[in-house]
Amino acid sequence: MSFIGIAVFCVLVGDLEISTLDPWQEMGRMALGAVSPDFFTTENLGRAFLNTLAFAIIGVALGSALGFALSMVFHNPGVRFFCAFIRAIHELFWGLIFLQAFGLTPLTGVLALAIPYAGIFAKVYSEILDESDQAHLKAAPEGTGFISFFLFVRIPDVWAHIKTYTLYRLECGLRSSTVLGFIGLPTIGFHLESAFKQGNYEEVAALLYLFFALIASMRWWMRPKLVPFYVATALFVLPVGADISMVNVVRFLTEDIVPGPLRWVESYNVDTFYIFGQWLRVVVVEQALPGIVNTVVLTMIALVGAGGLTLIFFPLVSAKFFGRWPRKAGHMFLVIMRSTPEYIMAYVFLQLWGPSMLPAIVALSLHNGAIIGHLIGHHADQLPARADAPKGLNLYAYDVLPRIYRQFLAFLFYRWEVIMRETAILGILGIHTLGFYVDSAFVDIRFDRALVLIVITALLNISVDKISRTVRTRLRLSRSPDIV
């Protein structure tokens, strides 16, 4: 409840004005594009498609392997903080960082995905392992070795859970891999952003439809047995490791990210520190502070918005409320909402309502509402139906809603940190979040500044994660919802 209060306050201070005059010409062109997709104008489309898949598969596979290893030692506070830190940085920013050190190479894309995903996998795997049935563990005979205990007792117990989760992350990986195209990696996103910028909406529609189809068909082509085959193929498509120059890596680490005033300084004196202080003031006071305020305001409104939309969306895919065909349509709708990059959604709303926080809020709420709605819909179906279950609105309000409410809150709080990370992307549209300043620093070739801002962003994320965990514990919500 207090969260709604905070959101209301944020709405008051947030900038939500509607100001456009004549969006209809552009909206008309977009609508026309949507109904007449053109699949033949994109250069090297097949290659981009393969790259998108390959980056996602290698990135998620590597992330899951690293994450699994980290989950073994996750109880160490240092490891826990390390994981929180690496997952607190958006894959786009990891991408921008590796772009400086490794250039436009496959390694850049793979690491940009694998590193934050390793942090997420480590956390979730360790929670899954912790919540496995303790009775099984005690049943193992005395003197069972650590490895065999692990392989034959703990893993089989949680295998199904880990498998479902990893496959779910692959869907996220496909989205991330696409979005990495926005900064130059040769995935579908590369062409999607170009076409979008140029206003070639027929091409935009074609690329989006292909992407929706890829996501919607995942359960047919993504078989666990085929995983080794996919990984091997992906390695052929993307020769990871070619073209890396150590000179650049060293330069990036020893020059580029050193704060400007301290670079190439021979001896430190009062003046150096004064100039450094000035430099730090600009970064912290003029950029980080306003950035934090805007990021938090945007995140809070979007969080509550996503919650509201979830409650509308989840019945669309639940067998408790709709028959087979309407449900299929509901599924399709949610796939579209959660797979369309927020950047594109926000742009469409920017056309409609003019520049303010509103486009970003609506885009983030729709995207996240669709993701949580999808998961809650499944959850609702698993509730045993009572013999005297009411129907329609009564069923919704008096039976299903109260029973899923805790799970709903758990998912929503879990997503809080994710929404905050996503506000970064919208910074690129000119909404002055922390992400906006990070992006500006990269454009200005001021990697020293970018690094400070990224660390601040990561710390903000970690704090939110911490608050969210406290809230979830207080509300006695399960520590980890099944899948998020």
């Binding site: 004549d22 250069e43 090297n44 436009l104 120059s245 056309q351 549209l429």
Partner: protein, 284 residues
């Protein structure tokens, strides 16, 4: 598995060897991004014939990425904007501006406004744009960011955030036109060449959006080359590249940029951009 690994190894080796002998260039993605490859692959073929080495073009997504590629020696030659070129050359010792477009000696930024503002074209800086909503183009653009920001600061003695009700970055000159035309932003600033091209292509509705001010001229796009190319590709290579660029006469190739012709350029031609960049705070 062994076979696969050895194949992979050979493949890796081959790709890296091929790279060492290839002369690579890029271009900032300022317009018609969707056909970058077909536009610049033709230029690569031309340069390859003239220079006698393999020439490859790699597409990049942003001004920053073009600078990074130059910095990392992933490309040895680049078609930069004024500001991105200065940024790149400041970071790569020995690099040089070798040619610019004919039009780049006197490039211009157009300020445009939605018709609902009632603003009309005038000779002086349009002071009435204060408190309107305003969009730049890409954050790293000379004509869409640096120069308009310079004139805004010079006139109002304040930062754009303090002058306007809202400041956006459309990311691209064509998007600036769209956003001002739809009224999403009331005023914007962009590259005059893009404005003229879009007018020709019929994408602009003159009853909704029009020019309100033209900036004084400044130097813009240029070809910049790394200082170490002669050691890699042989003595005199830099001069050969310069000559090939200056002798590019095929209108079809020139249309990729789009420029009438290329003329000689020097680093010192871009001193005005360095000065303005420092004043605005976009260069250290």
């Amino acid at each position: 598995m062994k076979k696969i690994l050895s194949f992979l190894f050979v493949f890796l080796a081959l790709t890296s060897v091929a790279h060492a002998e290839t002369f690579v260039f890029t271009a900032i993605p300022d317009e018609d991004e969707s056909r970058l490859r077909s536009r610049f692959d033709k230029v690569a073929t031309y340069l390859s014939q003239e220079l006698g080495v393999e020439v490859k073009y790699i597409p990049v997504k942003s001004y920053g990425a073009a600078v990074t590629a130059f910095l990392n020696n992933q490309v040895q030659l680049a078609w930069f904007g004024g500001l991105s070129g200065v940024r790149a050359r400041l970071r790569v010792p020995g690099s040089e501006a070798i040619a610019q477009g004919f039009e780049d000696q006197a490039f211009v930024t157009y300020f445009i406004a939605n018709s609902s503002t009632g603003l009309k074209e005038g000779k002086d800086f349009p002071g009435k744009i204060q408190d309107k909503t305003f969009t730049f183009g890409s954050k790293g653009s000379t004509s869409g960011r640096l120069m308009p920001e310079f004139y805004i600061r010079e006139h109002f003695k304040k930062s754009p955030e303090d002058v306007f009700k809202r400041v956006g970055f459309s990311g691209d000159h064509s998007k600036t036109i769209q956003l001002v035309q739809s009224g999403a932003y009331q005023v914007g600033a962009l590259n005059f060449k893009v404005w003229e091209n879009e007018i020709k292509a019929g994408k602009v509705d003159p009853s909704k959006v029009s020019i309100i001010w033209k900036t004084p001229p400044y130097p813009d796009y240029q070809w910049s080359i790394r200082g170490d190319v002669n050691t890699i590709f042989g003595a005199g290579f830099k001069d050969k590249v310069t000559r090939s660029l200056l002798e590019m006469k095929d209108p079809d190739l020139l249309a990729s940029f789009p420029r009438r012709s290329f003329i000689p350029a020097r680093n010192s031609d871009y001193q005005p951009i360095v000065d303005v960049g420092k004043k605005v705070g976009l260069l250290d």
